[in-house]
């Protein structure tokens, strides 16, 4: 199969073909819901749209297609990989939104539409070529996700969360656009591929540091890295679980992708082309990474609400992925990309279990999970796998990706020990800390007795069961045979480094 099947239809628009499909889908969703007044057909069409988009992307990715659209968006192995990631996320979210009792019924058409728009925004960021298109893509995601957070049935927490999200999001956007303007002032370009050369020519300046920090703050909000993480637990807790999945596994990855696309490429180029020392920026990211994992994990210990706990654990996981920003090597980047994928399945899977149990009438408190192994043995076992994977227990996916990630901080590609070994040490210690609170849930599920009167079997919706099963399969398969995704991650990292 070659890319001509796609290029024949989309012509010059081929690089953004998967996004176009999503946008078309977003436009017809409200009309569909208006016509049918039922969730099922809307979700069915939505899934078809996502699958078409996914199929297009797989064809392009599989055939190694590379092209640029209007000097704004480039499709290559890196952007194709990110698009695939976002498609998987939105596929899972859309699939379970249909049967979740938390999602809105009244505005389901708008909800579905916003979901696809958010997905398209993330995918545009994945393919973006300059600072402006990145900014626009990120804002598309932000604005639609503000609304998505608010769209929850019968829960005042959602409105509160949405307001907080908007306020902090607005602040971050302001910081971002300020940073972009400063960066433009320093380098005189918004093209990602030219930033590095320009920076090498101009060297570091006060303005650059301000640009760096404000953009880190702005996009760090999306990543939910410390100290820009405070919103995340409130919002994840307040939003409906499918939207929490979208935020934790999708929009967080978009923020990391922005870091990779802007800073990694710029600094490594400046280093390679202009011989500019980048160790200070690397340390900056290393400190942020270490802070994120430590604070995320430590605060997660004292949480009693499982969604908040998972939110803090997501902050820690972002810290792990930021190791790639500290090490700034091709191998570290591919390991970071791989961890982004495994994180989708394990964190997404854990949130799916939480969402499924909410639908089955279970609360969000950790004590509500007492005796779950008796009440829903398969779901409890799936949760055990996800939590062990998050903690990095072999042979699950989380172990493999953490292994790649941490080893990239220890040895560089040519076998020399790097200076980031302390970061790997911090990360490993953090993995040990994280085991504490993950195992607490497992203990609740397997050892504690269910509360009196709450020992009936739980019945979870079918779509959740299927989505959880898919995540379980990937958590196991990617652990045993990482090659199926890791190869693409290596290609993606090579494509990004190919720009240098």
């Amino acid at each position: 199969m070659d890319a001509s099947i796609v290029t024949g239809i989309f012509g010059a628009y081929t690089p953004i073909a998967p996004m176009i499909i999503m946008i078309i889908g977003a436009l017809i969703m409200p009309a569909l819901y208006f016509g049918f007044k039922k969730k099922a057909p809307v979700t069915a069409v939505q899934m078809i749209i996502i699958l078409i988009s996914l199929a297009l992307n797989m064809i392009l990715l599989g055939t190694g297609y590379e092209a640029t659209y209007a000097n704004l968006f480039t499709y290559d192995a890196f952007s194709g990989l990110l698009i695939l990631l976002f498609q998987i996320v939105v596929g899972i979210v859309a699939f379970v939104s249909y049967s979740s009792i938390e999602t809105t019924t009244l505005h389901f058409g708008a909800y579905s539409s916003l979901l696809l728009i958010a997905a398209a925004g993330m995918m545009f960021v994945g393919a973006a070529d300059d600072l402006i298109s990145i900014f626009v893509g990120v804002e598309t995601v932000s604005i639609s996700s503000y609304a998505l957070v608010a769209m929850k049935r019968n829960d005042p927490r959602a409105a509160e969360a949405a307001v907080k999200y908007v306020i902090i999001g607005g602040l971050s956007t302001a910081l971002t656009i300020y940073g972009i303007s400063m960066l433009y002032g320093v380098t005189g370009t918004v093209e990602l591929s030219e930033l590095g050369v320009a920076l090498a020519a101009s060297g570091y300046s006060w303005a650059f540091i301000i640009a760096l920090i404000t953009m880190m703050a702005g996009y760090g909000f999306k990543v939910a890295m410390v100290p820009f993480h405070m919103w995340a637990p409130d919002v994840y807790e307040g939003a409906s679980t499918p939207v929490s999945i979208m935020l934790a596994t999708g929009s967080k990855k978009m923020g990391l992708a922005v870091f990779f696309k802007i800073f990694l490429v710029m600094l490594v180029t400046a280093n390679v082309v202009g011989g500019l020392g980048i160790v200070e920026v690397q340390y900056l990211f290393a400190i942020v990474a270490a802070l994120s994992m430590t604070i995320g994990n430590v605060v997660a210990i004292s949480q009693t609400n499982i969604k908040r706990m998972l939110a803090y654990s997501s902050i820690a996981q972002a810290g792990y992925i930021l190791i790639a920003m500290a090490v700034m090597s091709q191998y570290a980047l591919s390991a970071g990309l791989f961890h982004m994928f495994t994180h989708v399945f394990m964190k997404g899977g854990a949130f799916l279990v939480v969402g499924a149990l909410i639908c089955a009438g279970l609360g969000e408190k950790i004590t509500d999970y007492n005796g779950l192994a008796k009440r829903a043995p398969l779901v409890a076992f799936a949760m055990l796998l996800f939590l062990f994977s998050l903690a990095g227990v072999p042979p699950l996916a989380g172990f493999t990706s953490k292994f790649f990630l941490f080893s990239s901080a220890i040895y560089s590609e040519d076998g020399v020990m790097t200076q980031w070994i302390w970061l790997a040490f911090v990360a490993i210690l953090n993995s040990a800390i994280s085991l504490y609170y993950y195992v607490r849930i497992i203990k609740a599920m397997y050892i504690e007795k269910p509360a009196a009167g709450a020992d009936s079997k739980l019945k979870i919706p079918k779509t959740f069961a299927i989505a959880i099963a898919v995540c379980v399969v990937f958590v196991i398969v990617l652990g045993l045979y990482p090659g199926i995704i890791m190869d693409y991650c290596a290609q993606g990292a090579a494509a990004l480094f190919g720009l240098i």
Binding site: W206, M216, P227, F228, M230, V298, S302, T400
Partner: protein
């Protein structure tokens, strides 16, 4: 090509394990039929694979079929997952799946009264079989090690099968639990050696794929000292798994499991893995003559000492357990002596010596297969006896021959075979083993050691015949004693049919030599100078008849065997010779030594108690005071910090915005410091 589907052979039993493990309670016989079907399917595929391989062109050149995919990569080294089919692998797969299938069928009867526990039993034995089949089909050491450990786990689970709810009370249950622990820990000592050996080998060769590490050119290029160390460590793994001296003590205790499990461990799986490992690593071991000498010495010594322990034991299963140790010793003696001759021949370029060495390899492998048949048979027979009279003590049996005709006859066949009675299976391989040892005695600087080992081997042959017939006469002949009187006769068909099938093989399997099949499992350097198992024509019936029957020492062993059988007859059947006269009624020093396993368990206990407990106490102190103290302090700090940070999260949006701005300013300060320190500005 069916060979390409050889991975199905280990895969089917593990699928049975999963299915039986999860759904066994909803199946007939706790999933027993499914396990049998799985073993049968593996056996049929093994046949198809073996026949196709042996008739293919690859059999003669290069002597193997292999294929693998990358499992994962570590620092530029690929670890592969694949299969490696050669004659040795085929042979092991064939006998392991076939005998396991028969044992599973037998288990239907033997474990028939176990109710809900059958699910666990059949699931675990299926997994056990996977371990052995996967071990045989693996294409590299790491993959093999996975299956090796899988067997270790299964042996632990199955030996301790009755570690709770033992049918005969709590004392036995505790005994089973400690036997399982012992088996696991003692074999673990070997496993650690094997792992170390793998690391050393990887260091020396840069790979653990069989095609790479057993390649002659690579072996010659590697550092000989590293190879020496690797060989010894790998052999350490075999010592643990095959219960050779000094790690032999777990196997007799392992009798605490069900008899069928003993049959599985002794005949088809587990202990054969050690022999397989040495046979597989023969090209590596042969690089150093001292390694082969060591293998031979360990084998010969174990053969002798284990046989002495069997002489006066009263427990029917323990006698068989000691005899397994002894027979495994023969296999290692054979491989060691053969390797010694091979190494000598390679040094001097003498092809006659190399041929003699190859004969030792053939004898060792043939003895492994023969032993699988007759030991499986003997254990299943003993199980049938135990099933019928409810005891393992031979002093409470006797006269069962009339009540249990099939069991007594099949057991007689097994005993004749293991004793090396002429023309029974054990005869051919055992005499070739002794002949190789004697051959080795006449060559090289260390030949005198092999003369000693040959002598021990011959004495062992005498003892083997004696204790096996002592067992047979005490069980089946004479007057029925206590439990034998209450025996409820012959076992059900599901148990007797496997006995009949196995007895045919225990009698006739040695004839493969005469029909020229020995070419399948001999070893040598092929035309390209590479090691190859099989691939040559068999020597044929005439050759082996001449080889054995023109050798005066063959007649010596035959006379010894007949003499031993006659002596056992006089002592335990006709009772004209009183055994009490020899052992001073149990007071003789030698008698006590044998009965207490030459005090080996005491030595272990003393060493591990004095040394191990002392070290453990020191470690315990360090652990409690230093490590736990640190960890507790740290965790208190972490949890306290978490509480503090949680309180900072007060839920007010303006606090959050403040933190964002404050964080950005703090980050800016940090960045400034960094840029100044690194001279960026």
């Amino acid at each position: 090509m069916i060979v390409e589907y050889v991975w199905l052979v280990p895969l089917i039993p593990i699928l049975c394990f999963v299915l039986v493990g999860f759904f066994g309670n909803h199946m007939h016989q706790g999933g027993g039929y499914l396990s049998i079907a799985g073993a049968a399917a593996s056996f049929i595929i093994s046949i198809a694979v073996s026949v196709e391989f042996w008739t293919s062109a690859a059999y003669t050149d290069p002597g193997y079929v292999t294929n693998s995919i990358t499992w994962f990569s570590l620092g530029g080294h690929d670890v592969n997952l694949g299969y490696y089919v050669d004659s040795l692998a085929c042979l092991v797969m064939l006998f392991a799946s076939f005998i396991s299938m028969l044992i599973f069928i037998y288990s239907l009867g033997y474990m028939g009264d176990q109710g809900g526990r059958k699910r666990r039993y059949f699931a675990e034995v299926s997994l056990f079989l996977t371990g052995m089949l996967g071990l045989a089909a693996s294409s590299n050491m790491i993959e093999m090690f996975v299956f090796w450990e899988l067997m270790g786990l299964c042996s632990y689970l199955l030996i301790g099968f009755w570690s709770f709810n033992h049918p005969e009370g709590d004392a036995k249950a505790i005994n089973a639990a400690s036997a399982a622990k012992k088996a696991f820990l003692v074999t673990r000592a070997g496993d650690v050696c094997l792992m170390g050996g793998m690391f050393v080998l990887f260091q020396a060769m840069g790979s653990l794929d069989y095609t790479v590490i057993f390649n002659t050119a690579n072996l010659n290029a590697a550092n000989p000292d590293t190879l020496f160390l690797a060989s010894l460590l790998i052999f350490g793994g075999a010592i643990g798994k095959s219960a050779q001296f000094p790690l032999m003590d777990w196997l007799p205790d392992a009798m605490a499991g069900p008899t069928t499990v003993s049959a599985l461990i002794h005949a088809a799986t587990m202990v054969k893995a050690g022999v397989y490992l040495v046979a597989r690593c023969f090209p590596l071991f042969v690089m150093n003559i001292d390694v082969m000498l060591f293998v031979g010495v360990i084998g010969g010594v174990t053969a002798f000492f284990a046989a002495t322990m069997a002489m006066n034991n009263m427990n029917i299963k323990k006698v068989l357990a000691y005899s397994t140790l002894s027979q495994l010793g023969y296999m290692f003696l054979s491989l060691g002596a053969g390797g010694y001759l091979m190494a000598l021949g390679m040094q001097s370029g003498d092809t006659a010596l190399m041929a003699a060495g190859a004969l030792g390899y053939t004898a060792g492998i043939l003895h492994m297969a023969n032993h699988a048949f007759f030991k499986g048979l003997l254990f299943l027979c003993s199980g049938s006896v135990i099933h019928s009279c409810g005891t393992e003590d031979m002093r409470l049996m006797g006269g069962l021959g009339k009540k249990m005709k099939i069991t007594s006859i099949t057991m007689l066949i097994g005993s004749l075979s293991i004793a090396g009675f002429p023309f029974f299976a054990g005869f051919w391989s055992k005499d070739l083993v002794l002949e190789t040892a004697l051959d080795a005695a006449g060559n090289g600087a260390c030949g005198w050691i092999f003369l000693l080992l040959w002598f021990l081997g011959v004495v062992t042959a005498f003892m083997t015949a004696f204790y096996m017939f002592r067992l047979w006469y005490m069980t089946f002949a004479g007057e029925p004693r206590e439990n034998a009187q209450k025996s409820h006769g012959e076992s059900p068909h599901s148990m007797t049919i496997p006995l009949c099938v196995l007895s045919c093989f225990a009698f006739a399997f040695g004839f493969v030599l005469l029909f020229g099949f020995d070419g399948l499992f001999t070893i040598g350097l092929n035309a390209d100078g590479l090691w190859q198992v099989g691939g040559v024509a068999g020597a044929g019936a005439v050759h082996y008849f001449l080889e054995l029957f023109t050798n005066p020492y063959t007649y010596l062993t035959i006379i010894l065997v007949l003499g031993a059988i006659f002596l056992a007859y006089l002592m335990y059947c006709k009772k004209t010779v009183d055994p009490g006269k020899f052992n001073k009624h149990g007071q003789a020093w030698l008698y006590k030594a044998c009965a207490s396993r030459w005090w080996l368990p005491e030595i272990y206990n003393q060493v591990s108690w004095k040394l191990g407990y002392g070290v453990a106490k020191c470690v315990d102190f360090f652990d409690r005071q230093v490590i736990d103290g640190t960890v507790n302090g740290l965790s208190n700090a972490v949890i306290g910090g978490g509480e503090l940070a949680r309180k900072a999260q007060d839920g007010n949006a303006h606090t959050y915005a403040g933190v964002v701005i404050g964080g950005a300013v703090a980050l800016f300060a940090v960045a400034l410091i960094l840029f100044v320190v690194y001279g960026g500005i």
